[in-house]
């Protein structure tokens, strides 16, 4: 039992590390790969939780995560950037070291917040809630600081990953219906974003969302 707890804690740490890596990454291609890795970590952790608690529906969740977040979504995103021909996120709005510092502050904030909740939680989930919350906030921060629309989508998806991690590790998963619903939502959202990318590029000849300021009516 203690091994599984150790293992999950390790996975949580890796998850946080990946989020930081995403935050500092300038290349969109690697961003997507990191996202796929994050999905894989999530799959493993869900699998381990399923194994250790004996909840069968979590196996389905794990399979679903593997399929959707490790295979389908990264593939879709790869296809998108090939079609749109964007490899680089030229510049971030705030430079990367500052972002990292803000990120660290956020992690401390998240752990602080999660401390009282962790007290209540059962053995397996100690400390995980803080990490999950931190990765949600960090992903949101990534959406804030990026210029290109695709990296914002990756931020959005990573945020969902953080939520999913919190759900599986802290409460042994949501009901399968809810998970299926969310998974479908994410898939659909990605499709819609894809369509929007084409529209944005059609309209502005670029994927830089700062151009969208022009859409405001005066």
């Amino acid at each position: 039992m203690s091994y599984t707890i150790q293992f999950i804690n390790l996975l949580a740490a890796i998850l946080l590390l990946i989020v930081f890596a995403m935050l500092s990454q300038r290349r969109i291609l690697s961003l997507i790969n990191l996202f796929a890795w994050q999905g894989l970590v999530l799959t493993v952790s869900t699998f381990v939780v399923a194994y250790s608690t004996g909840q069968h529906h979590l196996y389905y969740s794990a399979a679903l995560t593997l399929l959707l977040k490790v295979l389908v979504l990264p593939w879709l995103l790869h296809r998108l950037i090939r079609k749109l021909n964007v490899r680089w996120d030229v510049e971030t709005l705030i430079n990367i070291p500052t972002t990292m510092l803000v990120g660290i502050a956020l992690v401390i904030f998240a752990f602080n917040l999660a401390a009282p909740i962790s007290q209540l939680a059962e053995g397996i989930t100690r400390g995980l809630i803080g990490i999950a919350l931190a990765s949600v906030l960090l992903s949101l921060l990534m959406m804030l600081t990026r210029r290109k629309a695709i990296s914002q989508v990756v931020g959005f998806l990573a945020m969902e990953n953080g939520l999913f991690f919190a759900a599986t590790s802290a409460t042994h998963g949501m009901p399968l219906v809810v998970e299926l619903g969310i998974a479908l939502d994410v898939l659909v959202a990605t499709f819609i974003f894809g369509i929007f990318f084409f529209q944005i590029r059609e309209t502005f000849d670029s994927l830089d969302i700062t151009h969208m300021e022009k859409l405001k009516d005066d």
């Binding site: 709005l93 904030f109 917040l113 919350l133 906030l137 949101l140 921060l141 959406m143 804030l144 600081t145 914002q152 969302i209 700062t210 969208m212 300021e213 022009k214 859409l215 405001k216």
Partner: protein, 684 residues
């Protein structure tokens, strides 16, 4: 669905044992049939001929079957069905009781005529528009029927919104015209403000007992404090008033009715406004367990204002469909007066009088559905024949369109409240209810009611005046434009539709005793007493007793015909052979043209002068030296200026403040989210 039909425990229900089918099952099946017909129309948009010649008549037959089902259900008790659809813990409930049944008859009876008329009217429409219109049309009918059958708040709101949205799309059929889009938006806006009020009203009646309490049965069983039941009543009055066009929420009516195609105007004015009346009756007398007398006074006062306002504005309109729309506002006012009177009588325990005024209200709803639909589709025929809605460019159509003219004459006489047509019966009953009111224990109300009766009489008289104007300007005299020489009469389908509704007006006028016997089942349900027919037999309608007043339309008709016959015979007897035809006297001025006839503006002028303070009048008069003298007059609604424009300005101001947040930068929007999240996490 059949297997799910479970009868409510306490109520007596007789089944048709041989078939084992309940009226509610049939009604449900017919509604589904409407939906299927609508979808079929959409699928077959490649063959417009099929849609007009087959689908609309089939829809009309469904209407007729629905009316028959309603008549059948009126004799049975209440039937209840719980559908296996809907929200978790709140499946959809349907119920068919006498009140719903009565309004189903109204819906089916009037829409039968309108659908037949539509079969001819939409003939010239392009296939893809027609397919869409066919779907929206039948969806609209199905929505209205489901409103009547709904037995829980969720089902009711879904049906209510279906009705509102489908009618919005029907109103904006000609959406390339900016004015029509504007009218549609106004309609949608007020419909939704009303829907929110209704929803809140259901929330109040539900009383915070969880989702299961949203069924109407739970609301019937709930006992609200006087304060909360008043809140529920006021919300319902506001919400249904917005749909019905009660002052000051009437502004959408005169915009949306002229914008919509004529059969749609007919459905909206004839039937949809009645669903609001149905809602008021359902909430006030069925769902709320105790009524308070001041609700009735409020409804009465609002109704009187609405009636007089509507008829006043109808008198000064130059557009024939706007005129009819204002006349609908007037009739809704009369219905609201009837409801108000019923509440007052019921609250004071005068059940016989409550039954009388409720009967008058229901009867007038039915009558209005028939004659207003008739007149609206009639304007459709005129519009098709001449392309003109402005009465100032019509005239003399009785020669070119004899069918439409004769059938619309029936509608005009009915709406003007002349015996032996149907409008007279209900207005007479309403006035009877007023005249019998002394004896209420509240002296203020006793003083108010004679005044109210006088106002009703004024509105009825002005309505007759309006109809003289409407018919006289359009059909009588000489054509005011050259193009009118080529106007063609209503087509075959159109004649059938007009004929059915005219027949309805005559039948409802000639057989009041039979109608009231049927209505008794509804009044029994709502106020616990029927009108019966005090010793009048089948020939005489005597609402109270023979000493006070009785009315026999058949005798009246026979007397009128007899007098006419005697006159004709006398004329023939004494003047026979002395017939001489010559030119009409031209007042010594031989150069007369059609433009010298009285105009719509001219006819409305006295009303405009008398009620001048109520209008905002804009006149543009020619001077004596103009080579091309032009006269232009406009009477606007003061309520629009003094109530709606300030609301609009405030809304614009507020939204301009809100738009300060809008920068067009996604990062900024995301940081709003981020900051909100962090603040909430840190401080909650």
């Amino acid at each position: 669905m059949r297997s799910l039909a479970n009868l409510q425990g306490g109520e007596k229900t007789t089944r048709m044992d041989i078939v084992g089918v309940l009226p509610l099952d049939v009604a449900g099946a017919l509604i589904v049939l409407w939906l299927v017909l609508g979808l079929l129309g959409l699928a077959l948009q490649g063959s417009p001929r099929f849609i007009t010649n087959a689908i609309f008549p089939a829809g009309a037959l469904v209407s007729l079957a629905l009316a028959a089902t309603g008549l059948w259900a009126l004799g049975e008790g209440a039937g209840v069905v719980v559908l296996p659809l809907g929200l978790p813990d709140l499946p959809l409930h349907l119920r068919l009781d006498p009140l719903s049944a009565f309004f189903l008859i109204l819906l089916g009876g009037a829409s039968f005529g309108v659908s037949l008329f539509s079969a001819g009217y939409f003939r010239t429409m392009a296939g893809n528009t027609l397919g869409l219109l066919c779907l929206e049309y039948h969806l609209f009918l199905a929505g209205m029927a489901l409103v009547l059958l709904a037995d829980d708040a969720y089902m009711f709101m879904v049906a209510w919104e279906t009705m509102a949205l489908s009618s919005y799309f029907l109103v904006t059929t000609d959406h390339h015209v900016p004015d029509i889009r504007k009218a549609g938006f106004l309609y949608l806006l007020i419909a939704h403000v009303g829907a929110i009020a209704i929803l809140l009203g259901f929330g109040v009646m539900q009383g915070g007992h969880g989702i299961g309490a949203y069924t109407f049965d739970a609301m019937r069983a709930a006992h609200l404090t006087p304060f909360w039941s008043s809140v529920a009543f006021l919300l319902a009055l506001f919400g249904f008033g917005a749909k019905a066009g009660v002052l000051p929420l009437h502004v959408w009516l005169p915009e949306a009715h002229p914008a919509a195609p004529s059969p749609v105007s007919a459905l909206m004015s004839g039937i949809m406004l009645k669903t609001a009346i149905y809602g008021m009756l359902r909430v006030t007398f069925d769902l709320l367990d105790a009524q308070q007398w001041w609700w009735g006074v409020l409804a009465l006062a609002l109704g009187l204002l609405t009636a007089v306002f509507g008829v006043m504005f109808a008198a000064v309109q130059g557009d024939m469909k706007r005129l009819l729309a204002y006349s609908s506002i007037e009739n809704i006012g009369l219905l609201l007066v009837g409801i108000g009177l019923t509440i007052i009588f019921h609250a004071y325990g005068k059940e016989a009088l409550a039954a009388l005024s409720l009967t008058a209200t229901l009867y007038h709803s039915l009558n209005h559905a028939f004659f207003k639909s008739l007149l609206f589709i009639g304007t459709g025929s005129i519009l098709h024949a001449t392309g003109e809605r402005n009465m100032g460019r019509l005239g003399g159509l009785i020669h070119r369109m004899p069918w439409a003219a004769m059938l619309m004459l029936v509608g005009v006489l009915s709406i003007a409240g002349l015996p032996p047509f149907n409008g007279f019966v209900s207005e007479w009953l309403l006035l009877q209810a007023f005249l019998l009111s002394p004896g209420l224990p509240n002296s203020y109300i006793n003083m108010l009611i004679p005044v109210a009766a006088a106002v009703i009489a004024l509105a009825a008289a002005l309505a007759a005046y309006v109809m003289v104007k409407f018919y006289g300007i359009i059909f009588l005299g000489q054509p005011r434009e050259q193009a009118l020489e080529h106007a063609h009469d209503a087509g075959r389908w159109e004649r059938i539709g007009l004929g059915w509704l005219a027949l309805g007006c005559v039948a409802l006028g000639l057989a009041p005793v039979f109608v009231i016997q049927q209505l008794d089942r509804v009044t029994q349900m709502l106020v616990g007493q029927g009108l019966g027919n005090a010793a009048g037999g089948w020939l005489f309608l005597t609402p109270v007793d023979t000493e006070r007043a009785s009315y026999s339309p058949v005798f009246f008709l026979l007397a009128v015909l007899g007098v006419m016959l005697v006159t004709i015979l006398t004329v023939h007897r004494f003047y026979h052979g002395r017939l001489r035809r010559g030119p009409a006297w031209d007042c010594g001025f031989p150069a007369q043209t059609a433009r010298m006839q009285d105009t719509a503006e001219g006819f409305g002028q006295p009303i405009r002068r008398i009620f001048e303070p109520f209008f905002k009048i804009e006149n543009e008069l020619p001077t004596a030296f103009d080579t091309h003298p032009r006269y232009h007059g406009r009477s606007d609604d003061r309520i629009w200026l003094s109530l709606y424009l300030p609301i609009k300005r405030i809304t614009e101001k507020l939204s301009s403040w809100v738009s300060l947040l809008q920068h067009g930068r996604i990062h900024l929007y995301l940081s709003y989210t981020f900051v909100t999240l962090v603040v909430l996490l840190a401080f909650m």
